[in-house]
Amino acid sequence: MLRYVFRRLLTAIPTLLVIVTMAFFLMRVAPGGPFNQERGLSPEIKANLEAQFGLNDPLWLQYAHYLGNLLRGNFGPSYNMPDFTVTELFAKGLPISIQLGASALILALLLGSLLGTIAALNQNRLGDYTVIALATAGSTIPTFVIAPVIQLVFGLTWKLIPIGGWGDGAFINKVGPVLTLALPQIAIVARLMRGSMIESLRSHHIRTARALGLSDWSVVVKHALRGAVLPIVSFTGPAAAALLTGSVIVETIFSIPGVGRYFVDAALNRDYTLVMGTVVVIAIFTIVFNLIVDVMYAVIDPRVRYD
């Protein structure tokens, strides 16, 4: 297994290089640059700015510089927020996005699995229909609708939580964004769990277990759950990468200083280094979480072997 993990990490290097290279050149193909704005700059002033950030160098040289800096762990300066380097922006924003994303993910996995299991055990009965209805609503109502409703109901009407802001990371400031992030994920996990649990409950080994007179609790928790949880594990990899790197909508509506907002803002502002930084971070998260998922597969299902 260790060899497998090592091999996967090694193959991640060329993958990352391809992603970085594509992102670097695609950004430069996009029309407009970091210094195009409503108030046009004179060519001389623009040239001064470009020189300051090395944008007047040939593209291949800029690419080489970027790769060299990246190898040293230097993501470069932010063009649009010159008081910060990209590393500083991530150092401030990433822990916040991770806190929210991890909370939402854990909530989604626990609650979604529970609801999915309840639905499966009550197939075609009221409990099942209720969960299906809630899950359908949860996965179809967009975040930009859920978030203002949470603000309005919990924040403004009942005054239980702040409308927005990070508040130095106070728990109460996280309630709204975590709920908003978690709700659609809960719905997805519940649906996945319901389907896989129904399938698992119909399998031969569960029938055998029941025939042997094991209790319902034992059948479900000890035997059915292990098989049913595999699709959830598959889902968790990409979901974790997406949730932990922030959500632009949730962070914007709740005024959360995470990194999710950089993904869109940096691209729109042609803040090349910040865009590249976000691409690298997402790529690393995706690679790592997919690897974790594959390892988890082997842990959960003894039939899966990677050596």
Binding site: S42, P148, L156
Partner: protein, 530 residues
Amino acid sequence: MLKTMLKATVFATTMALAAGTLYTPAFADVVYNRGTAAESESVDPHKTSTVYEANILRDLFQGLVMQDQKANLIPGAAESWTVSDDGTVYTFKLRKDGLWSDGSPVTAEDFVYAFRRLEDPATGAEYASMLYPIKNAEEVNTKKGKPEDMGVKAIDANTLEVTLKAPTPYFLEMLTHQATYPVSKASIEKLGADWIKPGNLVSNGAYKLAEWVPNDHMKLVKNPKFWDAASVKIDTVNYIPTEDRSSAMKRFEAGELDSYDDLPTEQLADLKTKFGDQIHVGPYLGTYYYAIKTDKAPWNNPELRNAISMAIDRDFIAEKVWQNSMLPGYSMVPPGIEGYTPAMAKYADMPQIDREDAAKKILEKLGYTPEHPLKMEIRYNTSENHKNTAVAIQEQLKPLGVDVTLLNTDTKTHYSFLEQKGDYDVARAAWIADYKDPETFLGISRKASGNNYSNYNSPQYEAAMDKAAAAGGKPEERMKDLAQAERVLVDDVGQIPLLYYSYHDIVSSKLHGFVDNVMDVHPSRFISKD
């Protein structure tokens, strides 16, 4: 019942988990939570460009001159100044009690250093042009001159002499711009790039920088070394970027924000009903216009440009699209600059129906009818209101035989295209005043201006603008010359002014000293809170 139970459960859970983590400010502190629609890019005066930063820097720094609550010019770091008879040499006397936040005196040498730093190409200052009126400043910025040759000199610690290339009557107004604020030479030389960090930043304004968490808040605390600290009522100003306007309204209602500098204009009528006098809307020095390609057929025909401009129902756009958060505009210079009367389009007072009839006649004369339509493409940058404005114009021009197509791109693409003088018909643009003078609006239509997206080129206009520049020392004569230049521009339809901007703030009734003005300038040092 269910609602009550749910409420009680959520309340109990959140309170229990949050215990001990809630932030409670000191009771003695007066805290002003100031909402802004966008995050600042920088607090280095030489690296900023937006109005959001201008508001913060106005609290942190003091230029030679500043603006009061009504945006009128008042002494800043300089307590007085004299101007030579020929209008080219300004001698500023700095306050003797002017201190940096570290307690060291603000000297003339700091200004010399700051002005040279702004023009140094290595600084990469977007607003270096703000000091171009100073002798040799432009040369330094364009690498044709040396910093020592710039017309800025410290006569002694408290006397600064600035020599201009030519009389520039709006020079003092220009000095209210954040790009011209001083920076501490000692601090930058000691700390290098880190001079800007909270805790390091040495400033000479009413406040100093305590914290900055990007996209969350910037905390400014009262500067006890400020020469007028005794009259500053607010202890802490938290600048809180809240990009989502609807969230900002809820935060205001919940008391999380004391003011916010933007409003969801589509809800303006409802907001006025709900918040009453706390909604502040009024004229702001900014013009929303369409650039029109004056050097390309058929748009090189002023008659055609005039017909198009005349046919646009600005009242409808201001009222229905912008919910009266903008005002109909018929001149490039918006009203509100003392001593200046903007030159309005001649049809400004005509009823809209008569304008459309007149426009139709012109178009027919030029051979454009619904059967043989004029093709026109409107380019605009992404925004719901820009789109709605363009769609409204598309509908308004259709009956006149103008076949309008729309092209939307993101802001960077849009302005990159215009900057490169790309091939287009009509394009959305805007200009917000950097300082209170008509020149800021008229300069963009000059032949040599990088912002002259219309490629407007009129010898009469250039002559009138030159004449105004030459009339430097005679303000009344200069204003007349500028108005004459604008008359030429408006009659030629070198640009199509559509709307004047308005400020739209929401301000808590607990705040005092937040006085409405055309520059939407509200220094925190003049504000108090109940």
